[in-house]
Symmetry: C2
């Protein structure tokens, strides 16, 4: 099976559309990498590019995008609401199909070394790639932002980057690179207006309270109905069908049914296949049986 990964580099440019397009074009020129999406936000002054493909082309496309962003964005002139430390601010590698999180960790290290060596940008490793415990969370790495890090990186040994110089790049700042699992956003709407029920169920199923592995859940009121809004941060362990059944079971205790559910945004084929295999006890069912999957082999 072809290995498929996703990378979603975030850039500190959300206003000059020509600059964003140049960065995206640099990625598009790499054969075998597909730019699925380019988004930007004026008030955050920030953009993100979704690149999908086999590991090597995605690596090349991301590097080309970073190189272009380095030449076109000056952090000394950048203002925006969103926290950031560099022209290329954060670069997550995500396994989609046939690839492991470990392979994405290896790739993030390879990119980190190359960015440090060829572009002279200090690199911090975060999430699954983090070497230091206090660099797992992005917010911790970005503390003080570009302006604060400028001095700290040179004077505070705790802020020394994982790769590259202990000095910000004069215009591009620093970059955070790492690997994380694919996040599935899944909401379940209950057949009740009582938000308290949603909050109670959310509290019971979330991992933090001893519920389902990799499930973050909150209760909301949406369109008049109680909703359990979830991030499934490890769908290989807890997929949306498992979350659905757990909520269904808990809701029954309140004599409440499920009105509808919502898979939000994009989902890897493997999550769908896994949900079908589990729900219908079709344990041998695999991605390679999906006709469309075989079209780009």
């Amino acid at each position: 099976m072809q290995k498929l990964i996703e990378c979603v580099p975030n850039f500190s440019e959300g206003r000059r559309v020509a600059v964003i397009q140049k960065i995206a074009s640099a990625a598009r020129r790499v054969r075998g990498a597909k730019v699925l999406d380019v988004e930007w936000d004026r008030s955050h002054n920030r953009s993100l590019i979704t690149i999908v493909g086999a590991p090597e082309p995605v690596f090349k496309a991301v590097y080309e995008a970073i190189k272009t962003a380095t030449s076109l964005i000056d952090m000394n002139k950048h203002k925006g609401e969103h926290p950031r430390i560099g022209a290329t601010d954060v670069v997550p590698f995500v396994p989609v199909s046939g690839a492991s999180i470990k392979e994405c960790v290896v790739l993030s290290n390879k990119l980190g070394r190359k960015v440090a060596r060829d572009l002279k940008i200090p690199v911090y490793l975060y999430e699954a790639s983090a070497i230091k415990a206090d660099r797992v969370n992005l917010a911790d790495v970005r503390k003080g932002e570009y302006e604060g890090l400028k001095n700290e990186i040179e004077t505070n040994p705790h802020r020394k980057p994982d790769y590259g110089p202990s000095k910000l790049h004069p215009t591009a700042g620093a970059v955070v690179i790492g690997a994380r699992k694919y996040l599935v956003a899944f909401n379940v709407n209950l057949d009740t207006h009582d938000i308290a029920v949603a909050k109670k169920i959310a509290s019971r199923i979330r991992e933090k309270n001893g519920g389902l592995v990799g499930v973050k859940a909150l209760g909301f009121k949406v369109g008049g109905y109680a909703q359990i809004s979830m991030n499934l941060v490890d769908y290989q362990k807890t997929n949306f069908d498992t979350a659905f059944r757990a909520i269904e079971k808990e809701a029954k205790k309140f004599k409440v049914g499920i009105k509808s559910s919502e898979i939000y945004g994009m989902i890897p084929l493997s999550s769908l296949v896994k949900a079908v295999a589990t729900t219908f006890k079709a344990k041998d069912f695999g991605e390679e049986q999906v006709l469309e999957k075989r079209l780009y082999e």
Copy 2:
């Protein structure tokens, strides 16, 4: 959404592998059409090529394959167990995604006219493309086979082809072209050794007996367990999840559970997406949310 169709032309050659490869290569050379599979059987002396892509490239690839088969296969020398009337024996067009059966009917007619005009082969339209009621079933069209049709096509007005001459092509014979829906093969294994239960459930759910639309079902014993083996000939109306739930309900009446199920062969992404949307009440969930789907747009 990109339109995707499948075409599986059957050729009367299952022994000379070089010939089969030349036919497949002719299809492969057409840009935008993907040859997913080439299969052949020596005793049937027959091969089939699975071509998938947008309607126009698939049309071209199938035509090139037929043209090549016409030049390389001589029906006067063909012997095989499987019924056949021509070098290219039967050509079904199947909608996979974003395309309707009507579009496949239009395409089959376009191919029929071109094959009749440019290759001088008589063409019969079958299945959804059939103009005459007694040509819907393939077996009826192939009655008498190549040898019998040779005389009949010239003398019996009921055997007059839908396109082309009322005379077999001297080496390539005739061809059957048409459109049919995608067939999903789905088996459900019961948690019992009693084949009678499988037979009873199969009889209750099959369309013929007033059961589920588009469901053909038989009871078997497989690996010691009772199995309901199904062909879902219209998964847009009755998908595998609906069949599963119907069987589950019927089995309960016999105090029998479901042991496992099996999706056999390839399945279109739309069938998976539909099953997930129905089962988890996620009515807005669509194919375009599947990451892999967007890779070949």
